[in-house]
Subunit: 189 residues, 2 copies
């Protein structure tokens, strides 16, 4: 199903209650929809378990759709610091799931995504999902978190110089703050 010359991108909109995901293919300048959805966790479960669900579910999405690259939305600071902390933990679990699966992960700010998808950084949520539907010629509007994840994937596709186009092992692009899969580890026992 995956065209051999296409770059498959996984977009993630992280959250503890609900994490949106969206998968698209980029072939030249043409984008096409592959899949999207929402990973929900049970509020009545304890935090470690919910983080495990986020991690495992993203791993399932990666196993099923085999993306080449990943993009994740940067989180904004919530007025409630506890909410920021919960969102941060969900985002950490999501990023770990992608990085340790060997995917290069790029981060994009909300305004950057809106500018890339709609053309202006202060676009409304409706404008974003409208353009996601148009750019991917979808038959209907996806769920909010899934639409945001697709928008993040589109932003990555639009960002010049996809990772897989790089010809050396350096791979770090300041633009999208993209990192390679080289591992760095120092443990002091």
């Amino acid at each position: 199903m995956q065209p051999t010359d296409a770059v498959r991108i996984l977009g993630i909109d992280p959250g503890l209650q609900s994490t949106g995901f969206g998968v698209i293919d980029k072939r030249g300048s043409k984008l096409s929809y592959v899949a999207s959805g929402c990973i929900r966790t049970n509020e009545r479960e304890a935090l470690p378990q919910r983080l495990g669900v986020v991690f495992d579910s993203i791993r399932e999405v990666i196993a099923k759709y085999a993306p080449h690259e990943a993009a994740i939305e940067e989180v904004f600071l919530n007025k409630n610091p506890w909410s920021t902390l919960l969102l941060g933990q969900a985002r950490g679990a999501a990023i770990a799931a992608m990085t340790t699966a060997g995917l290069p992960v790029a981060e994009y700010g909300t305004m950057q995504i809106k500018k890339s998808v709609v053309g202006q950084g202060r676009a409304t949520k409706d404008q974003v999902s409208h353009m996601v539907v148009r750019l991917l010629t979808l038959g209907g509007v996806p769920q909010s978190d899934a639409a945001d994840a697709l928008a993040c994937a589109i932003c990555h596709a639009h960002t010049s110089g996809l990772l897989s186009a790089s010809t050396d092992g350096l791979d770090r692009r300041r633009a999208g703050r993209v990192v390679a899969r080289t591992s760095f580890r120092r443990m002091q026992p």
Copy 2:
């Protein structure tokens, strides 16, 4: 090396720059030191990569020492919300590493750990590491993050009713907000 009737506990003091770990064995009421150390990430690397290092390194510790249960310190809210967000993401990656390795993970607040190790919740860092050295009869004072991780493991050991003592699949203890390894997953494609 691991006594068959001992419960092996992994304690984690999470952080993006430095994550402390400590492994102890509990045999009846007797505690013994197994290992401790510190996982450091490179500040010059991008966040996704650093989170990958935290995750992979904790998985290495688990593979090497095969703990039965895990305990992690709750994070306090930093005055700087960006620091809180970074710490939250490191904690999320650390918890995901333990939960998805099948370890039940308990969370303990700083005051709860101090009370359990020193006897009073407002103990200083020095008092905590002094008691860690005494309780585990160590030959020297461990590095700060490693000492905090050992203190967290000791707190878990002291907390009545270790997880593995439970006889059913329920396993949820409100005391330490401990969760079992049952998985909950709902995805909406």
